[in-house]
C-alpha cells in the first residue's frame, strides 16, 4: 500500500500540490483523475522520487520514501515499475534488450535466465514474437505492451501508469486497460493509473482520487463517481455530450 500524508509541493510561488493525503491499495487499480494542469503528473513524479516534496510523507508499505537519501531510495525504486505515456522504451535497444535492462542492472541473473524472463514477460503481454524488434518497428499499442513487460520484469510491488491508453484507439486502449488490471490482480501489485479517460475509469477503476487545482477533491469507487453530486467532479466526468446522456439515463 502507498499512503500520502499532507503532501505539499511548490515551484517558486506556484503552489502545485496542496496538503494531499491519500491511500492507494494493494492488488487494486487506483486511479488519479483530474483536469490538465491540476497537478496529477507532479503528484506522480513526487511519488516516484523525480521531484522532492516540500512537506509531507510518502509511505511505501509504512516506509517513508520522501525523507530517504538518494541511495536509500534505490531500495524502493527497485520495486517500482513505471509505464510512461509514450512508452519511454530505449531506442538503441531491441525489445528484449529493453526488458532485460533492469534485470541486467539490478540482478545477478545469467544471460539465459534474463532471456527466459524477458520471453515470459513478452508472452504475458501477448507479444511472443517481438523480442528482436526495435522500438521504431512497433505500433503505439505494442510499445505500451512492451513498456508493461519491462515494468513487470523485476516483479515490482508498485506500478505507475501515466496515461496508459493515450494515443490509442478505443479497442487497443481497452486491451491495455485489461492487461493492467489482470497484472495487478495476478501479482498483487499496488497500481496507480493517471488518466483523463473516463472509459478507463469505468472499466478498471477501483479506488478513484479526483485532483482539482492541486487539492485532493474527491475519493470513491467507480459506482460512486457516476452518482456523485460534487460539482467539480460532475463537470469533469460529464463533460462530453455522450456522458451527459449517460447521466440523464442514470437519473431515470
Amino acid at each position: 500500500m502507498i499512503e500520502l500524508k499532507g503532501l505539499n509541493k511548490s515551484f517558486g510561488d506556484h503552489h502545485v500540490l496542496k496538503d494531499i493525503s491519500a491511500q492507494f491499495h494493494k492488488g487494486q487499480v487506483n486511479i488519479i483523475i483530474g483536469q490538465s494542469g491540476s497537478g496529477k503528473t507532479v503528484l506522480t513524479k513526487c511519488m516516484v522520487g523525480l521531484h522532492d516534496v516540500d512537506s509531507g510523507t510518502i509511505e511505501y508499505d509504512g516506509v517513508d520514501f520522501a525523507s530517504m537519501s538518494f541511495k536509500e531510495k534505490k531500495s524502493i525504486r527497485k520495486d517500482i515499475g513505471m509505464l510512461f505515456q509514450g512508452g519511454a522504451l530505449f531506442d538503441s535497444m531491441t525489445v528484449e534488450g529493453n526488458i532485460m535492462f533492469p534485470l541486467s542492472m539490478f540482478t545477478d541473473q545469467t544471460l539465459a535466465e534474463r532471456r527466459a524472463r524477458s520471453q515470459f514477460c513478452l508472452d504475458r503481454v501477448n507479444l511472443p514474437n517481438a523480442a528482436k524488434l526495435l522500438p521504431s518497428e512497433l505500433s503505439g499499442g505494442m510499445k505500451k505492451r512492451v513498456a508493461i513487460a519491462r515494468a513487470i520484469a523485476t516483479n515490482p510491488k508498485y506500478l505507475f501508469c501515466d496515461e496508459p491508453n493515450s494515443g490509442l484507439d478505443p479497442k487497443t486502449g481497452l486491451v491495455i486497460d485489461q492487461l493492467i488490471k489482470e497484472i495487478t490482480e495476478e501479482y498483487q501489485i499496488t497500481t496507480i493509473v493517471i488518466t483523463h479517460d473516463m472509459n478507463s475509469v469505468i472499466e478498471i477503476g477501483e479506488n478513484i482520487q479526483f485532483i482539482y487545482e492541486g487539492e485532493k477533491w474527491w475519493e470513491g469507487s467507480k459506482e460512486e463517481i457516476l452518482r456523485t453530486e460534487n460539482k467539480e467532479v460532475v463537470d469533469f466526468v460529464y463533460a462530453s455530450k455522450f456522458m451527459k446522456r449517460v447521466r440523464a439515463d442514470l437519473a431515470k
Binding site: V48, L50, I80, M82, F84, Q85, L89, F90, M105
Partner: protein, 287 residues
Amino acid sequence: MERMRIVRRLFMDCKGNVRTNIELQLEFSAIGRIPKFSRNYMGIIHHIGRYVLWISKVFKRPEKWRIYRQRIFEEVQNLGYASLGLVAIVSGFMGAVLTIQLAYNIDSPLIPLYTVGLGVRDSLILEFSPTIISIILAGKVGSSIAGEIGTMRVTDQIDALDIMGVNSTNYLVGPKMIAAIICNPFIVIISMILGLVGGYAAGILTGEVSGNTFIFGIQYWFQPFYITYALIKTVIFAIIITTVPAYFGYHTSGGALEVGKASTISVVYSIVIILTFNLILTQMLLQ
C-alpha cells in the same frame, strides 16, 4: 521607423495584441531593471553552477561495471572510430594546404626550404591537430550527443532510468567521456601523421619542396614536449566535447524544436570553451 518597430515589439505580443499594463509591469519588474549584460552574466553563472553540480554525478560509482565497460566500447565505436574518416580527410588537406602556403611565403634565399617541413610539423602538432580537430569533433560528436540525450529527455527515457534507480548522468555521460578521453589522443596522433603525409605529398606533387627536404624539416629540432602538450590539450578538449553537449541535452525540455536548439547551442558553447581553454593551457604549458 526602427524606433516604431521596437516600441511595437515591446508593447504587442507575437499575435499583434496589445499587452496589458499588468503584463508589462510584470516583465519590467522581472528583467527590465537589470542591465542586459548583467542578465547574460547571470545566465552563464547559472549554467556553470548547474554544470558543476551535474557533472559530479558522472564520477559516482556505476551500478554495474560490466554494463559500464560495454557502454564504453560502444561509445569508442560511435565517437572514435566513426570520426576517423572525417579526421583523415581534414588532416590530409590541412597538411597539404599548410605546405603550399608556407612554401609560397618563403621566397627569401636566406631561409632554407626545410623550414616548410618544420613549420608544417609544429603547426600541426601545436595547434591544428589538437585544436582544429577538436573543434570539428565538437561539431560532429557534440551535436550527436546533445541530440541523442535531448531526445531521451523529451521522450521520458531519462526519467525511466531515474525511476529504475539508475544514475542516469553516470550511465549516459560517463562512458562517452571515458571513450573520448581514450580515443581522442589516438585520433589527434593519426591527424598529425596524416597531416604530415598530406604536406609531404603536396610538396612533391606541386614541386615546391622535395621529399628529402620536407622529411629533413619535420625531423629538424624536434621537441618531444610538443606532443605531450598536444595530448594534454586533447584530453581536456575531449571532456569538453562530450560533457558540454551532454549537459545541454540532459537539461532540455519541450520537444523536437528544443532538442534542435540544445544541439546548436551546445556546439557553440563547446567551441567557445575549447578556444578559451586552448588559450589558458597554452599560456600554462608553453610559458
